[in-house]
Amino acid sequence: MSADLLARAMTATRVLDEAGRLLRGVETPDGAMLLDGYRRLILARRLNDQAGALVRQGRLAVYPSSRGQEACQIACATVLADRDWLFPTYRDAAAICARGVDPVEVLTLLRGDWHCGYDPVEHRVAPQATPLATQLLHAVGVAHAATLRGEDTVVMALCGDGATSEGDFHEACNFAAVFAAPVVFFVQNNKYAISVPLARQSVAPSLAAKAVGYGMPGIRVDGNDLAALNLVLGEAVARARSGGGPSLIEADTYRIEAHTNADDATRYRTDDEVAEWVARDPLSRLRTYLTGVGVLDESQEQEFAAQAEEMAAQIRAGVGAETSVNPDDLFAHVYTSLTPQLIEQRAALRNELTLEEAS
């Protein structure tokens, strides 16, 4: 591995600085693509806020917010082609929505109607993974099957900094590298695994630097810089699609909110630390840049805000709608056909419910 590659694993790639200025020597990013990305950031932020509100109203059991990580969410979904696959975790609802899945279907898991509320095959989005890092291996499998059939599908596999400690992270990186599988491992390093800080997960020079051990490129990128994320993830996708194998991308970002509503982040981090990252907000950085170069104006801001409000209203209506759950569903999909035992148990439950109704 050349010194240049290692350097890219250590120093985060940036396009815009924290004040929203284009860095010197960097190619000017495509304005129209960034403007659409900005619109999507607004929607993602609104999704996070709306879902959080629905938890407080008791409409959702829980919501792991990606506030502060919206640029990562949007970039990883929008660099993919329709035929590609996304493997999200529980914190990646905004990425799934950016892939075109109805937000109400995404939130079904958290509303408690069923485990996965969307059609993974139609959208080419795997069910949100709650166990850590297990889905990375499935991503490698999807990619390897595509390679064996001669297809040029790319798979984007998401995880957080905590998940890089799991054995399956290691196995997935190694399998992907050995099979030259078209996978992009995208680690959103948001600095905490619930309460445990990065220093307790790893003392590697960077998470991206772990790629060296697997023989694949590892690249660190500013996770609050949409232009840089588009660039780095786009390169990794292109490399995978052309047969160049997997990459490991680490986004340097921050989880602004607590792990979930059930968590109390004040027990393990300071307000000052959070404030430092709020100042690096991915939305305001991009807004400053786009306004400065004349791509974004006030009327577009209003238009995007209106789109976000419309989406939020649809989420409120959809999540708030009374849904009926069918107890028969408990048995329907455990196997392709019901076993004799499940037929017996379903009959017993039906009988119980009939008696309950009669009384």
Binding site: P120, V142, H144, A145, D168, F175, Q341
Partner: protein
């Protein structure tokens, strides 16, 4: 002239099933540790890489969670993977992938993502293996809803049940009794593929029924033959599938004989044998002449080679259990 069936070992029968499945369906792929050039440590995949190419039968890095996780993703993307866990106890690193994903994927996606994959596991003891090579791990899988658990006991069934398992739209844990790998029997490759979930009566009996699966079936048959020499007509039911469980066939036999012993090699506590006793008792209580007996391994880790004969359920223990099935009319209680 009588057409003689070919004689082959169980390893060869399984190899034939893999070959025939791979020939019939291009989406069937085989992978695991040492299954490529070497042909597997038990030679079950002998020649598959040579004959089907490296894309159809290949070695993976040495990581069981990785192997099963890879299979899940390939099944999500249109393949029918068959994977080999080298030994029963070496499958445990894949436990999370099996229980949290293989077993649940269909249910959590309302059947949208099915898992048509087979996890082949050489299992159980009797080969003089050192530790971690002889576990009877069936109960872990049988306890997990969503998994089908199949355990062939004959070479013909090893062929037929593996074909059925590969064709199944649901994930199958395929438990291969490793001490029978090199036993040679006549194998009928042309007989109808046995349906998963149906037990078979290996030997009809009038007086009592032995219920067994996998490597315990030949032991049970030997015990029944010996009992016959002593004047007792003992039947043997081979479960073939642990999940789904064939209550119908098992209970019909027990109702007919009124006496039963379950034979299984794994530790007995909270085992498949316990489950069989419980469910057959619930369904057949009024036909029973005696409590159902159990002959299982002790509740200990699998013993070292020089002690394994004391652990394995053998013919004598089975016959003792049959003898204990209250054959004499119960004496009237003595009033004190």
């Amino acid at each position: 002239m009588i057409n003689e069936l070919p004689k082959m070992t169980m390893a060869q029968a399984i190899n034939a099933a893999l070959r025939d499945a791979m020939t019939a369906d291009e989406s069937v792929v085989m992978f695991g540790e040492d299954v490529g050039t070497l042909g597997g440590v038990f030679r079950v995949t002998d020649g598959l890489t040579r004959d089907f190419g490296e894309n159809r039968c290949f070695d993976t890095p040495l990581a069981e969670s990785g192997i099963v996780g890879l299979a899940i993703g390939m099944a999500m993307n249109g393949m029918r993977p068959v994977v080999e866990m080298q030994f029963d106890a070496f499958a445990y690193p894949a436990f999370e992938q099996i229980t949290s994903h293989v077993a649940k994927m269909s249910n959590r996606t309302r059947g949208r993502l099915r898992m048509p994959l087979v996890i082949r596991i050489p299992y159980a003891g009797g080969i003089g293996g050192v530790e971690h090579h002889c576990d009877s791990s069936e109960v872990y899988y049988a306890h997990t809803p969503g998994l089908t658990v199949v355990a062939p006991a004959t070479n013909t069934d090893a062929y037929g049940l593996l074909r059925a398992s590969i064709e199944s739209p649901d994930p199958v844990i395929f438990l291969e009794p490793k001490r029978q790998y090199f036993s040679r029997e006549e194998v009928d490759l042309t007989s109808a593929v046995p349906p998963i979930g149906r037990a078979v009566v290996r030997r009809p009996g009038r007086d009592a029924t032995l219920i067994a699966y996998g490597p315990s079936v030949p032991v049970a048959i030997t015990a029944a033959e010996q009992a016959a020499a002593e004047g007792r007509d003992i039947g043997v039911v081979d479960l073939r599938s642990i999940v789904p469980f064939d209550d119908e066939t098992v209970c019909a036999e027990v109702r007919r004989t009124g006496r039963a012993v379950v034979v299984a090699e794994s530790a007995g506590f909270a085992s498949v044998a316990s489950e069989i006793v419980a469910r057959v008792t619930e369904r057949c209580f009024h036909h029973l002449e005696a409590p159902i007996g159990r002959v299982t391994g002790f509740d200990i880790p699998y013993p070292p080679p020089k002690l394994e004969r004391h652990f394995l359920p053998g013919v004598d223990r089975i016959l003792d259990a049959v003898d204990a099935l209250q054959w004499e009319p119960t004496a009237a209680p003595v009033m004190s």
